[in-house]
């Protein structure tokens, strides 16, 4: 069993905030495949297409037959610990600040032997389940967990260092008017979040969500209009120093593509909220969060964007909205680059059509608020960078991976006509 984390004491403002350090980031191009799989929470190794041999460490050619035809395949994560060590002395600052640090050699049932992080509850020479997670350098690493799980296992310091767990953290949800906000707030509080701040634009207008939000303990509503730079800056000045997880669910959506609309009016609103709103938030909250990624139990840990899955490939029914999401997705990649040196993780949650007024005419399945909330919380617990919520999003992502050009044709082709 892991000693449960206790809520951190109030921060002493006179003490220096520990500056973020990182584990080693350098990887070969082949090894980046492990990181890409970790970004989605998958346990995958390279497999040779010609002789089926699994490779580890990652290679450019098969070590059994020299075939260059290697691809990353999800494999069984089960294995057994052969040897272990607890590191007490190390020159790399990130680990030096975190020793003792436990690692081990694990023989995978699938074949390869890997050096990996060991969860504190793994017993000597026991059976383990491996996970592939992003560490604070943003690279994939393997970690062995006790096969049967253990009590409070998510609080293990080595595991928590890989994840964005909401427990004891303070979270800002940017749009109190979004129909998914109550489910998000409730799920995060259930996952142990200490406080949920919620931004509300134009608070003189009625907000049907407000009553439900006000009834939740540890929820605080603040004025926030992501289209207004001063409003964003004011809130950052007030709570930026205690925002550990940012969840940007502010979204402006109208149906229609280029020709369905007679002007750029709605497109401007979409860009203002979905793209520039994200940029304003990043500019106001990003630097403060980046400086607090090593700040103890409630360190800043993740930035969550909720995008339409049509950010990957345009849905003509919501053509201009899709375009604004594509722009925001590209910006999120820029944010990842800017945040990377701090270890602050950017998680994009891609959702299919949500079950709300604007998607009335879209056939099911549609994503319910609680489903979206579950994806967000699970993604944070798994430390993901990319996650797809709902069947439509998962289907679309798979087709996007198979061939983005085919997907574009499928999405944009018209009927056969008369």
């Amino acid at each position: 069993m892991t000693t449960p984390l206790t809520p951190p004491p109030k921060k002493n403002p006179q003490k220096r905030t520990i500056a973020p350090t990182r584990p080693s980031e350098a990887r070969s191009r082949a090894a980046m495949g492990l990181s890409a799989a970790a970004a989605e929470g998958r346990f995958a190794l390279q497999r040779c297409a010609e002789c089926d041999t699994l490779q580890y460490p990652p290679r450019d050619v098969c070590s059994a037959c020299l075939s260059p035809d290697l691809s990353w395949k999800d494999i069984s994560p089960e294995g057994e610990i052969l040897a272990e060590t607890t590191i007490h002395a190390v020159s790399k600052l990130y680990f030096r600040e975190r020793v003792p640090w436990r690692i081990g050699t694990v023989q995978l049932d699938a074949g390869p032997v890997v050096i990996c992080h060991l969860h504190g509850d793994c017993e000597r020479n026991s059976r383990v389940t491996l996970i592939n997670r992003l560490d604070r350098s943003g690279q994939g690493v393997l970690m062995a967990l006790p096969k049967e799980g253990s009590l409070n296992m998510e609080d293990d310091p080595q595991l928590r260092a890989m994840t964005s767990d909401p427990k004891h953290r303070r979270i800002l949800i940017t749009d109190a008017r979004n129909t998914n906000t109550p489910a998000l707030a409730r799920s995060l509080l259930d996952a142990g979040a200490a406080t949920v701040f919620i931004g509300e634009a134009e608070n003189w207008r009625p907000n049907p969500m407000r009553d439900e939000l006000n009834k939740m303990a540890n929820v605080h509503i603040f004025p926030l209009d992501v289209t207004d730079t001063s409003s964003v800056q004011e809130l950052a000045a007030e709570i930026g120093g205690k925002t550990d997880i940012m969840i940007n669910n502010a979204s402006f959506i109208r149906p229609g593509g280029v020709l369905a609309r007679g002007d750029t009016g709605f497109a401007r609103d979409e860009i203002e909220v979905n793209y520039l709103g994200l940029m304003r938030l990043a500019q106001a909250f990003g630097p403060g969060m980046c400086s607090r990624t090593a700040d103890g139990v409630n360190s800043a840990v993740a930035w969550v964007n909720i995008f339409s899955v049509y950010a990957l490939s345009n849905d003509p029914e919501f053509g201009c909205f899709s375009a604004s999401n594509a722009a925001a997705r590209s910006l999120s990649q820029n944010m990842r680059a800017d945040f990377r040196s701090s270890g602050l993780r950017v998680m994009n949650v891609y959702t299919g059509p949500t079950d709300d007024d604007w998607h009335q005419l879209v056939p099911p399945p549609k994503v319910a608020p609680i489903a979206l909330a579950r994806s967000v919380v699970q993604g944070l617990k798994d430390g993901l960078e990319e996650t797809y919520c709902g069947d439509v999003a998962k289907d679309l992502y798979q087709r996007f991976q198979n061939n983005p050009n085919v997907l574009e044709r499928e999405l944009t082709q018209g009927g056969d006509g008369p």
């Binding site: 584990p23 080693s24 350098a26 990887r27 070969s28 082949a30 090894a31 580890y56 460490p57 990652p58 070590s63 052969l82 040897a83 272990e84 060590t85 607890t86 590191i87 007490h88 002395a89 190390v90 020159s91 790399k92 990130y94 680990f95 640090w101 690692i103 081990g104 050699t105 023989q107 032997v113 890997v114 050096i115 990996c116 992080h117 020479n125 560490d135 350098s137 690279q139 690493v141």
Partner: protein, 390 residues
Amino acid sequence: MGLRQAYDGVALVAPFSTPYQRYSTDTAHWWIAGALRGALGTAGLKPGEIDGFCVSSFLLAPDSAVGLTQHLGLCLRWLDHIPMGGASGIVALRRAARAVQCGDANIVACVAGDTNHIDSFRTLLSGFSRSASDASYPYGYGGPNANFALLTDRYMQEYGATREDFGRICVAQRSNALKYPGAMMKKPLTLEQYLDTRPISDPIALFDCVMPCAGSEAFLVMPEEEAVKRELPYALIGGTIERHNAHAEDPIQLRGGWTLDIDELYEMADCDAKKIDLLQTYDDYPVICMMQIEDLGFCEKGSAAEFVRSHDLTIDGDFPHNTSGGQLSAGQAGAAGGFLGLVEAIRQVSGTAGPTQVKDANHAMVAGFGMINYDRGVCSGAAIIRSGNS
């Protein structure tokens, strides 16, 4: 496969070691030049008289052996650069011996050296190998300490070796180092001190680890008649082997490549383990010494712990081992660590070891082991050398 050709007629002369330093403001070039100069001086040669040069170093970048030719003013007809860390001494000896035997070179200088600036060990580690960057350093960045801790942990589980057993090796080597003027460690070490020191990466503690330092080592390879003509004490090569990436199927390294070739080595040298008067193992960690004692045929697999309990490993003991203190007590001067045991063994069998001289040292076994590419040492080698002047 038949026996490989003998190494007859090749002499190893002029072993030279610079005294090691913990930190140095000088460069690898400077240290290598120092050892070359020392070996040439020992043999009474001028730089222009060598026509072959073989170098090993981690910290020459951006230079290689090529840059050194111009830097040191050497005109050569045979040049080699051996990036095999702890196996580089044996491999240099093998390559140079064949070059001399075949007439590609007449006198080859084999040199290894590295400097040690503040922080250069950490920097060296960070770029050591692609697989280490991909699959070992992200896991606690323990470097060789953590890697060998995993092997040691498994070895102890498999064969019942204890910390005391590893301690015996370290304590004996410290006793040897006290007689070796170039060694870094000048204070005696007791088994109690060994056991009580601070942990580094369990089960490895402070005295299981080598101290990175600056230093260099060199020897010359020439035809035997050349050594006789110049009246130089020399050693001859009974046999020598190398092997890379052996036993890749073993889940964790408990044996090295020596096991594949050791019978041939004894056959080539026309001797057996009993005839060996002293052993120089590559001792980056004591578990590796045990592995070599087993794999080189001095005892059964898994019984090296018992072997070190029942033998005296000091210079005057019944099984002299790492007589200059090894890297554990002399220090690890980068790639020169792969030369330390070989250079000392040449001194021993040519009767020039001075304060560390083993009595009646006629046959020496030297082993090399190097390069933790990912989870294990990939290169291994060994040589049996014997006294030339007897």
